[in-house]
């Protein structure tokens, strides 16, 4: 048991990194282009959707979460979920309260 098979851990290679690099560059080009098209309410939605897609690619492959332990995956998901709860409750409060005087 004592550590002779320890390098069975997954090593992500240059091929994967190159694919992700091009995906991220494509996403950047796409989001800049989309920002010049007037889509009304959908502009911020699309910008955030593309940003989130890019972030997920970075987390899963550059940060190796795709290959990580269940403990790490669960911790990250729990943390992000907690963050989403906090931000959505806060925004729901501010948007739905008719304080009016701004």
């Amino acid at each position: 048991m004592s550590g002779h098979n320890e390098h069975a851990r997954h090593i992500v290679g240059p091929g994967v990194y190159l694919v992700i690099l091009f995906a991220l560059l494509l996403g950047t080009a796409l989001t800049v282009w989309a920002s010049y098209v007037d889509l009304g309410l959908w502009n911020p939605v699309i910008a955030l959707a593309i940003a989130t897609t890019k972030a997920v690619l970075v987390v899963l492959f550059f940060m190796h979460v795709w290959y990580s332990t269940k403990l790490t995956k669960l911790t990250i998901i729990a943390g992000i979920f907690m963050f989403l709860v906090l931000i959505s409750m806060t925004l729901a409060d501010y948007i739905s309260r008719a304080w009016g005087s701004w």
């Binding site: 320890e6 991220l24 950047t28 955030l48 972030a55 332990t69 911790t75």
Partner: protein, 247 residues
């Protein structure tokens, strides 16, 4: 496999590398624990930047015209260039991790050096942007000027692109809030970059000496997590500060 020179000083124990602490049963367990702790730290960073993002979204919702006009003062070309610079730096950092894991010392030094240079390039471009804000008196404080928002045509190159209508003085006042959040968010991001570049400098020296290519690459891997996290923060900053108020 760890090389034999790493075993000096532990002859009383079973063969194990010098970097393996006594309270871990294997090097893999040690690396997993360090990675787990790094993620806990990054989640506190998510909450920290998340608070800033939430403040930005709330105020943007309240003072929408001021935030749109404020955003039009940013240069998308510089913002997009910096996004590309950071994405490339994340790629070179990831390649550095691969070099460390596969024992490529020269490759690691080269990757870290490229990451270092790209990080500095990002800060250089940020400096150009900040200087423009200073020249236009868009830095919040005693010298803040609402001129660009009360009279958009006084700022011809921005006016030519967006044809912004003049804001009423009470709304124009709130552009200062946009720039406060702009400097707070990009400034905190830049501070993380400065810290990261400092650590990169230290790592390049250690990597040159062969510290990370003899089986113990945890420091490089976890620094990589930090660097990629900064990249993600910028991806959102670029979308929220520069892009969503375009068209």
């Amino acid at each position: 496999m760890p090389d034999s020179s790493a075993n000096i000083g532990h002859s009383a124990h079973d063969e194990h590398p010098a970097y393996l602490r006594h309270h871990f049963s294997s090097a893999e367990q040690q690396a997993d624990a360090a990675g787990f702790a790094m993620w806990l730290f990054l989640l506190t960073e998510v909450m920290f930047f998340g608070g800033l993002f939430t403040a930005y979204l709330v105020y943007r919702n309240w003072y929408y015209p001021a935030f749109v006009s404020g955003s039009h003062q940013l240069n998308v070309v510089w913002g997009a260039t910096n996004t590309v610079v950071l994405i490339f730096s994340s790629f070179t950092m990831a390649m550095g991790v691969w070099c460390a894991q596969t024992g490529r010392r020269r490759g690691l030094v080269l990757s870290l050096a490229l990451t270092f240079i790209l990080g500095l390039s990002f800060l250089g471009i940020k400096t150009i942007e900040y200087r423009e804000k200073i020249e236009k008196h868009h830095v919040p404080g005693f010298h803040y000027s609402m001129q660009s928002f009360l009279d958009p045509q006084s700022n011809p190159e921005v006016y030519a692109e967006y044809h912004d209508k003049p804001l009423a003085p009470d709304m124009a006042r709130h552009t200062e809030l946009y720039f406060s959040l702009y400097f707070l968010m990009t400034g905190m991001h830049a501070l993380h970059m400065v810290i990261g570049i400092g650590i990169l400098g230290f790592m390049i020296l250690r990597a040159w000496a062969g510290a990370y290519t003899a089986g113990h690459e945890t420091f490089v891997v976890n620094f990589g997590l930090y660097w990629h996290f900064i990249d993600i923060v910028w991806i959102y900053l670029f979308a929220l500060l520069y892009l969503i108020s375009r068209h």
